[in-house]
């Protein structure tokens, strides 16, 4: 047992990627294929009153009237049109589609189309917005009593900005029409989301819609919901022309039109005793949803559930709102609301420590959630609750206390953050998803059939490791089917740090069943005598997991991963540039199925978090991203990333495969507050990220 799990086996997808053999969406072509482009609104709010199109007949133009089914992108709320009919709610809203046989003929096509608008005044401020997509209230204990018990009260307001996912491969799909059916190939995270959207758009029965994920060059949440929109566009053109249609965004279009992380304003009021015990936490979370609801409700949900941080407190009141503004819709991005709210609570904790005059480590030690404690939603934590172990490990490894002392008053700073991240869908989400996974016997082993996608994070390798060990077969004997809705069951979306813990567990159960059925036979022997068979398992919640969606209380997640970051920085007094010099990232993730990939996830998420903290800024001007190119949207290069020392702790979760919990998202929750706390240590009072040199210059204390 345990031959593959826990070892860093060779990646299933590695050879094809490093040799260039892997086919990405733009590598594919079909006979007679056309290319599609999108004509977008250029104003943030108003109505289209006239359309002027100056194109020769070799261009095929489609608008909302060409949609055979319903004109909305089916996800949660049916509010977002696939193509604008009259109303425009944001710059870059899609209005028309154009197809042509020559890709180059589509360059500059938007200059051939002009809209007359009746413009309305846009609103970019979520605080004054009159449209609320979602409100959530979490109440635990008696907040008034908690503040009565307090000897000290600390208030604070913290703000975060947009962030772009910046997957390497931009969004792209190909739609291939058939006789009353449609197949869409694409770079995407969630084949069944796209499938659902296409069924609504086309009006076809589900069996006449097929979605195939092609090799995908990164997602980070940015290919959770947006590919549904793009697939619908390509399908409209494919159905209208009767030909395959390829649509690939260039970087500018991808940056202008697709989703970003929700900007947030988070206000804290915290009551404490003088010795640092938290008696009350009141948190108000406001998120900017952009122009349509998309996933704002669930991003807000994860945000508010994590808003009190990994701290024990009997009296908590959290209020959350996601508001509409006239900017492109914000959406899924690694962390999904939690990076915003945990930035706030962790930056706040250091201000609290300062107000009380106690050490920030001590403050966290006193208040960190322990096994048996309950979270803001009243979830009683199991034995794997690891806030204290990760904190102590990070403090010890980094020499935090000594550096904190020695660097005081210099241009070097050190800060930490303590955080957690729920694995899987929130609340009753996994029960509603009712995900399925299948395992099919092959002549030489088994084939995994799941909708979970490999987007660079290692899905195929990690799932094959779990199956190999549960089947007691070599890793090489396990194949992974490319996700294709005609072939694989709906194992839910590849999001929410759920693939390993939820889908991995389903596959482990499949494999154990298959193992029993094989008896003493090898797969080859069984296959020869009885032929192939398939085992399918459906999600069942662990016993005792309960969630009340009305009161927003109960077991928000099956389990949580825990993290502590210590970030060391140096501030250049001449230029206010901040150089992170070292990061200690301690993560408790249950079990590292593939230690090297898990470490890679933590390093990558940490680097992305450093970008969020210091560099990445979407400059919005009149509702339009003004820096929609990689020259001016600044992400960290290897030169900007310090050594990141990763330590993984393993406290197994009983219902995860081999004890594993989620790892994908958590690493981005911690770096930003740790950076800001290090800056506070250096004398900079920052409550808004990114902490650019321009902001630092003004924030010097």
């Amino acid at each position: 047992m345990g031959r593959a799990v826990g070892t860093s086996v060779r990646r299933k997808d590695g050879d094809a990627k490093v040799t260039g053999a892997a086919k990405y969406i733009d590598d594919l072509t079909f006979p007679g294929m056309l290319f599609g482009a999108t004509i977008r609104a250029t104003i943030p709010r108003g109505e289209i009153v006239n359309t002027h199109i100056d194109l020769s007949p070799d261009y095929i133009v489609a608008d909302y009237r060409d949609i055979p089914g319903k004109n909305y992108v089916a996800l949660l709320d049916p509010d977002q049109p696939c193509l604008a009919e009259r109303e425009v709610r944001h710059v870059a809203e899609p209005v028309l589609l154009v197809a042509h046989a020559d890709r180059r003929a589509l360059f500059g096509i938007d200059e051939q189309v002009r809209f007359d608008y009746r413009e309305l005044a846009p609103n970019y401020d979520p605080e004054t917005s009159e449209t609320c997509f979602k409100q959530i209230a979490i109440d635990k204990g008696d907040i008034e009593r908690g503040f009565r018990d307090a000897e000290v009260v600390v208030d604070g307001e913290y703000r975060t900005s947009h962030q772009e996912q910046l997957y390497i491969e931009t969004n792209g799909v190909i739609a291939v029409p058939g006789d009353g059916q449609i197949t869409v190939y694409g770079s995407l995270q969630c084949p069944y989301y796209v499938h659902k959207a296409l069924v609504v758009l086309t009006g076809f029965t589900p069996d006449r819609v097929r979605v195939i994920q092609t090799e995908t060059g990164g997602g980070f949440g940015g290919k959770e919901e947006y590919p549904s929109m793009l697939a619908c566009h390509a399908a409209i053109l494919a159905i209208k022309t009767g030909k395959p249609v390829k649509m690939i965004y260039d970087r500018v279009e991808d940056l202008l039109a697709t989703t970003k992380r929700h900007p947030a304003i988070v206000r804290h009021r915290t009551g404490l005793t003088r010795d640092g015990r938290i008696t009350a936490m009141a948190v108000d979370v406001l998120m900017d949803g952009g122009a349509y609801a998309t996933l704002s409700a669930v991003v807000l949900s994860r945000g508010v559930i994590h808003a009190a941080g990994p701290y024990r407190c009997d009296h908590i009141r959290i209020r959350g709102r996601a508001m509409m503004t006239h900017t492109p819709p914000n959406g899924a991005f690694r962390g999904f609301g939690a990076p915003q709210t945990q930035f706030a609570v962790e930056a706040h904790m250091d201000r609290v420590a300062e107000a009380l005059g106690i050490d920030p480590v001590r403050l966290r030690e006193v208040n960190a959630l322990r096994p048996g404690d309950s979270t803001a939603t009243g979830q009683k934590l199991g034995k794997d609750a690891s806030a204290l172990p990760v904190l102590r490990e990070a403090v010890k490894r980094s020499g935090f206390r000594r550096k904190r002392r020695e660097w005081k008053g210099t241009n070097r700073g050190i800060g930490l953050s303590l955080f957690f991240h729920g694995s899987g869908f929130t609340g009753a989400g996994e029960v509603k998803l009712a995900s399925k996974a299948s395992l099919e016997l092959t002549r030489s082993g088994a084939r995994i059939l799941v909708a979970s996608t490999e987007i660079g994070q290692g899905t195929t390798t990690m799932l094959a490791q779990i199956v190999a060990d549960a089947l007691e077969l070599p890793f090489a004997a396990i194949e992974v089917q490319q996700p294709d809705t005609d072939v694989v069951p709906d194992s839910g979306p590849t999001v929410a740090s759920r693939t390993c813990m939820i889908v991995g567990k389903l596959l482990e159960r499949c494999a154990r069943d298959m193992r029993r059925k094989l008896g003493a036979l090898t797969p080859a022997q069984y296959f020869t005598r009885h032929g192939a068979f398939t085992v399918t398992k459906q999600y069942e919640p662990p016993a005792g997991l309960a969630w009340d969606d009305q009161r927003y209380s109960g077991d928000a997640y099956g389990s949580y991963a825990w993290g502590c970051n210590v970030v060391e920085i140096e501030v250049d007094p001449v230029t206010f540039e901040v150089t992170p010099t070292h990061v200690t990232a301690v993560a408790e993730i249950g079990k590292a199925i593939h230690p090297l990939m898990a470490e890679g996830q933590i390093q990558g998420g940490t680097a992305q978090g450093l970008g969020y903290a210091l560099l990445e800024e979407v400059v919005m001007r009149d509702g339009r991203m003004a820096n929609a190119q990689l020259t001016n949207y600044i992400i960290p290069t290897p030169m900007d990333a310090p050594p990141i020392e990763v330590a993984m702790l393993e406290r197994p979760y009983a219902h995860g495969p081999y004890g594993a919990k989620g790892v994908g998202e958590m690493p981005i929750d911690g770096p930003a507050p740790a950076v800001i706390n290090a800056l506070r240590h250096c004398g900079f009072d920052i409550r808004l990220i990114p902490a650019t040199p321009e902001r630092l210059m003004r924030a010097r204390r």
Partner: protein, 290 residues
Amino acid sequence: MPVDARTLTLQRPRNLKAALAMLAKEPTLTPIAGCTDVLVGLHFGTSDTRQFIDLWSLDELRGITSKPILRIGALTTYTEIIASPLVQKRVPMLVAAAREIGGAQIQNRGTLGGNIANASPAGDTLPVLAAAGALIVLRSASGERRVSFARFYTGYRTSVRQPDELITAIEIPAIDGRQWWRKVGTRRAQAISKIMMAGVRSPADHLRQGYGGQEAGRHSCKVRIAIGSVAPTVVLAEAAAAVLSQGGAIGDAQAALRKEIAPIDDLRSTGDYRQQVAANLLAAFWKDTE
């Protein structure tokens, strides 16, 4: 949206003479070499130029010589500058600037002449050339002339170069004293400058000849300071340099500098930041070159 390549024309002269003849005939042609700026403009559809003359194969415009003056051919790439012992010895600040331009691919293709001709206020080598007192050698079919770098630019992306002229070389006189360079970009690599400064601090003539002594030395030296990304063109900060040359206080030099620059808010930074950091850089330069 990218510009459709079918709308572009490209002429490829075999030698400099042929190139100058082509330009004399069609002065609207845009000379290109490494294309590190031109291709960006064409890719993003922000460039209006469609007719090009490709200089890349004109080896006459390559190479670095030093007799009697350091002469760098216009087509010399950043990689060649970085690798040149001559430039390393004589103009280390130019090597430092070249090292921070783009990545290895850009450094292999981008040329010094191209950086000058592109005339971006954020061109990284430009403050160095200004501080070095470089001369730009221009040639047309009808002859050659030299223009001092300080007089080359006339405004935002405009210069005294005539449409039929090519930049053929850059000449850099011997620099006495300490050279200083600092680029402040949006990140540590692959970044466009928010602000950059080049400085030269030379001892005064009489001091070098002997008995100046401490007192005399502090009050007499030659200073040249040039700053990029703080105005429509590179700024030679003569007033600030004069204060320092005459032994004035650094605070007075900073005050003078603030009046010589006119930085704006843009996508990469703010005018306020550039003002403050320009003053800070000046102080850093002065301290580092003591």
